[in-house]
Subunit: 138 residues, 2 copies
């Protein structure tokens, strides 16, 4: 027989210690609505639930996958509405892959241009007063 331990609320410093995130960051997340506090102590201290730790792990994971805090918040909305957020997360991750592909494409083109430029680079070009850099011709 398992007896559930009573719900224990965490002050921000304890949450910071256990999550590894700075207090400032937690306040910032709370302000954004990303990490709701369960309430306040009589003295006005933010109180968080143990659930907040899971939520922070989730936020970290999606951040590591390249989502913005706003996108993460969109993923959390269905969860907070009592639904499974998997579908929304999947959509965000698909979009993220598209963004990554676009970015890789852009960087690849830029790299090609830079390589081509450097490939024909003259180490001792003739000075040309019509341009600043003869190699670039601008």
């Amino acid at each position: 027989m398992v007896i559930a331990s009573p719900p224990h609320s965490l002050k921000i410093g304890e949450l910071a210690a256990r999550s590894g995130l700075p207090v400032k960051t937690l306040r910032y997340y709370e302000e954004l609505g990303l990490l709701p506090a369960v309430g306040r102590s009589p003295g006005g201290y933010r109180l968080f639930s143990e659930e907040s730790l899971r939520r922070l792990a989730f936020i970290r994971r999606l951040k590591a996958l390249g989502l913005t805090l706003e996108e993460i918040q969109e993923c959390l909305a269905p969860h907070d509405a009592g639904l499974l957020p998997c579908h929304d997360i999947q959509l965000q991750l698909c979009r993220q892959i598209e963004r990554i592909d676009e970015r890789i494409e852009e960087l690849g083109l830029l790299r090609i241009e830079l390589q081509a430029l450097l490939g024909s680079w003259q180490s001792d070009p003739l000075k040309d007063d019509a341009v600043i850099c003869p190699n670039l011709q601008v």
Copy 2:
């Protein structure tokens, strides 16, 4: 026989029109020291030389190649000292390729992770109260 036209100084609006850059941007560049004015009119108007147009073309080119304004300024420093800046530009462009390669590498790894994640994504996972998203297990 070619007669050189007298040096004509440009007010900021004229430089903006001829370079295609907004006045605000030119003031910003001047403030950064990227685009020195040759002086001021008696009324305090910035005066630029025709040379500024070439300088702006150079700045645009390096910006298009992904350099920051600060890096561009480093490239212009030897030019302003009367030297050919090609070597310094070459160094910056090499560094830029390295940065691009690093970035592409990072993005590629992230893409692989995202693909793997989505590849095994369950569209209707069992709800698991220990995590927010069963697919992510966080």
